[in-house]
Amino acid sequence: MDEAFRPLSTTLLDFAGHSPVIGGEAWGQRLTMTGLEIASPIELDVSRGADGRLRIGTTPPLYPLMTTVAPVFHRLSIRAAIAEREEDEDGR
């Protein structure tokens, strides 16, 4: 995979890996984002690994400028929701 790209799972974690809770004591209130929908242009690098499996490399648009060679933007959309939490043995 080209070093400018990273696995799709890393990009997805950047989108959906943060806490749904915003704010705190300093803000005086807390907000919970109950859902998340993101649609973003991305560049793709699809290569084949030594094991024969396809590796999907992704990156947000690399250059915020007009370039001589026009990049190809694909589109990644995700919808995330708050995970239902199962109670553990301690009932937490």
């Binding site: 995979m1 080209d2 070093e3 696995p7 799709l8 799972s9 997805l12 974690l13 959906a16 890996g17 943060h18 806490s19 749904p20 809770v21 919970t32 998340l36 560049e43 793709l44 690098d45 699809v46 290569s47 084949r48 690994g49 030594a50 499996r53 396809l54 590796r55 999907i56 370039t67 060679v69 026009a70 990049p71 190809v72 933007f73 694909h74 589109r75 990644l76 959309s77 995700i78 919808r79 995330a80 929701a81 708050i82 995970a83 939490r85």
Partner: protein, 256 residues
């Protein structure tokens, strides 16, 4: 990452849709697993419910399968394909997933069939010998659906592959006297006569011999003259149309 270094030469590989979706699912699973671990220590966290990718690609068809090439910078005129993945419940998985092939069942991939026939069978959803039997039970004329598919020929080829996976094994051969003191050759082994529709046939040194009884672990053959085993004798035993054994037998006087 070492694997990534190895990838350097395989940039912008062409791909089949199912390979791409497989990789997409692997990436989505990785994301979900990481989010699930995070959720252990956080009161609230997200889970990815849906993912969609709009791809700019160039499809090509080589007469056998369709492959895609991701459009690269500077390339224009690409086609657009949207892949959407959503969450699926356990119940939906059960309703839409076919049970894996049973133990010992021959899959179409394992069967000794030519590539075109395998492709035709996959096209009508046949992936195992069991699927083919289901079609036969429903009295469907498979040749009407796919030209050039002959059910009987296929069933024989699959049966042959199945037999090749579980061949007969001879463990011992001995000469015994039957109730009337006539010499009988007793062949003991595994998976010998397993086809109830076919009676084994024995030929000793080119002469047809009478098969007295047969079972998966033993076959008894009337020998006639036991002296023929003083020198090496050749027994050709056809236990079913897909398993023919050739055994050289010689009487060992020093045997216990």
């Amino acid at each position: 990452m070492d694997a990534d270094v190895a990838d350097a030469g395989a940039a912008n590989a062409s791909w089949r849709l199912e390979d791409f979706v497989d990789s997409l699912v692997v990436e989505l699973d990785k994301t979900r697993e990481t989010l699930a671990v995070k959720a252990l220590n956080r009161p609230l966290s997200y889970t990815v419910r849906e993912l969609a990718l709009d791809l700019n690609i160039f499809p090509s068809y080589d007469g056998d399968e369709v492959t895609f090439l991701t459009a690269q910078p500077g390339q224009q005129g690409a086609s657009k394909v949207t892949i959407q993945l959503g969450t699926i419940t356990d119940q939906q998985v059960r309703a839409t997933t076919k049970a894996p092939a049973a133990k010992g069942e021959v899959t179409i991939e394992q069967a000794d069939l030519d590539k075109t026939t395998k492709k035709k069978l996959r096209r009508i959803g046949v992936t195992s010998a069991g699927d083919l039997k289901t079609i036969e039970r429903k009295n469907v004329d498979i040749e009407q659906v796919e030209d050039g598919i002959d059910y009987r020929k296929l069933a024989n080829q699959i049966e042959k592959s199945k037999r090749a996976k579980a061949p007969p094994v001879v463990r011992s051969a001995s000469l015994e006297a039957d109730d009337e003191a006539r010499p009988t050759l007793v062949i003991a082994g595994d998976r010998l006569a397993i086809n109830p529709r076919f009676a084994p046939v024995a030929v000793i040194d080119g002469e047809l011999a009478e098969v007295l009884s047969s079972s998966p672990d033993e076959i008894r053959v009337r020998v006639g003259d036991a002296r023929r085993f003083a020198r090496s004798a050749e027994l050709v035993l056809t236990v079913d149309p897909f398993a023919v054994m050739r055994v050289n037998l010689q009487d060992r006087k020093d045997a216990p």
